[in-house]
Symmetry: C2
Subunit: 246 residues, 2 copies
């Protein structure tokens, strides 16, 4: 069923929803007609199931026949934290991680990052990132639009991760837990973080820092993942492990 997030101009009051602005244009692009059903999501986890009752030049009126929590939101809020990769890999990561259930996605500069953001281009980039997250959220039936952001440095990423119940730092060598050990040793996981590197991975001193600040240094098994595959594979495994693919 077509799915919209309430945005500028659209609102739900009582049993009626008014769709305006870009959303209304989108309803028309989809050639919806009176009587057709759609879902309006408030972006905070609630879905309004509606049917179209009236279409005017600028807006679309709907009758809300049911409102209920969006079933697609996982029980664990997972932050994806990635060393900023080159080219369109960040966009791939956003799209795939939103589909796979990420709650927030953050990129940060790390030692081996080749990609540098030029001053003044950040806002434009973020706007594009957020748009990709919104599209992916619509398509995959999410109840929220995951927030996408840029962090100043790796320390910020570590701090964000450390504020969760299960802060995972994915690393390729040395002394590590398996993802299973990490998940099974944590109780009542409501929030988690998955940190992965840019193309060249992390420097040993970054992994050492992660260990010192208390992150769980974690293996993804014997195969080496590309930087744009690692977050999706880890997130899928974590979703499975926490019962969020059931």
């Amino acid at each position: 069923m077509p799915r919209f997030f309430l945005s500028g101009g659209s609102n739900v009051a009582g049993g009626t929803a008014l769709i305006a602005g870009e959303d209304a244009k989108h309803v028309k692009v989809l050639r919806l007609r009176i009587g057709d059903r759609l879902i309006l999501c408030d972006g905070k986890g609630t879905d309004y199931h509606c049917s179209v009752t009236r279409m005017s030049g600028e807006s679309v009126e709907c009758e809300v026949f049911e409102s209920k929590p969006c079933i697609a939101e996982p029980s664990v809020k997972v932050q994806i934290l990635v060393g900023l990769p080159k080219g369109d890999k960040a966009e791939t990561i956003i799209q795939k991680c939103v589909e796979s259930g990420a709650d927030e996605i953050w990129f940060f500069p790390s030692e081996r990052c080749v990609m540098k953001l030029r001053a003044g281009t950040e806002d434009k980039k973020l706007e594009r990132f957020q748009k990709i997250a919104e599209e992916a959220a619509k398509q995959s039936g999410r109840g929220i639009i995951p927030r996408v952001g840029l962090l100043k440095d790796i320390a910020e990423a570590f701090n964000r991760a450390n504020a969760t119940d299960l802060p995972l730092f994915m690393y390729e060598t040395g002394e590590r837990q398996t993802l299973r050990e990490a998940v099974e040793s944590a109780e009542n996981i409501r929030t988690a973080a998955i940190i992965t590197g840019p193309e060249g991975g992390f420097e040993p001193f970054e992994a050492e820092l992660a260990r010192r600040v208390g992150l769980r240094i974690c293996s993804m098994g014997p195969r080496i993942f590309r930087c744009e595959t690692a977050p999706v594979a880890a997130l899928s495994a974590l979703m499975y492990a926490t019962g969020n693919m059931d």
Copy 2:
């Protein structure tokens, strides 16, 4: 460490490996020198750990100091079977699924496939697909180069799946098992298959056929995946579930 699959002209005999042809060129591109270490893999799961002893115009000679099974091969051989998608999505699927541990990857035409292969272009396409699998296998440290192929029809895909211990047909609606239920109900899983659809998913009659021939109709949870994300997410979950990300 640089990793090569033995191919035309290269061979290992006794304690010596001779790298020739394209492989030898690749060694030179990587600027390896005498004394540098590399891994030669026979593509059947055995790794030869070598050091370069001699470089001539056309070939590279190495001393083999250890041969052992490649640790990256999963205990479960998983076939990925996908309704042929448009554009470069097939290539994305190949790359990501090889990294994630797939044993073979097959594409088949299904009812909602938009992509049609033009007669005469198949060989070229397959050659390209196989090259992507090889590159991904090298990069991710695999012990085999997963085979990529095209199937005639969905029935062929179903037959392939049915010959495995755990034939999974991923579907979005109706009566389904969870992936967990499917995995936990099977014993001693040595082989498995994951079937996913093209952009528009499967037609109900295709799912009904899958059910009738005995495939396990399976859910991937409440979120809808894009056709190029679904195989990777399902494979990652299956690898985790069977202890192959430990």
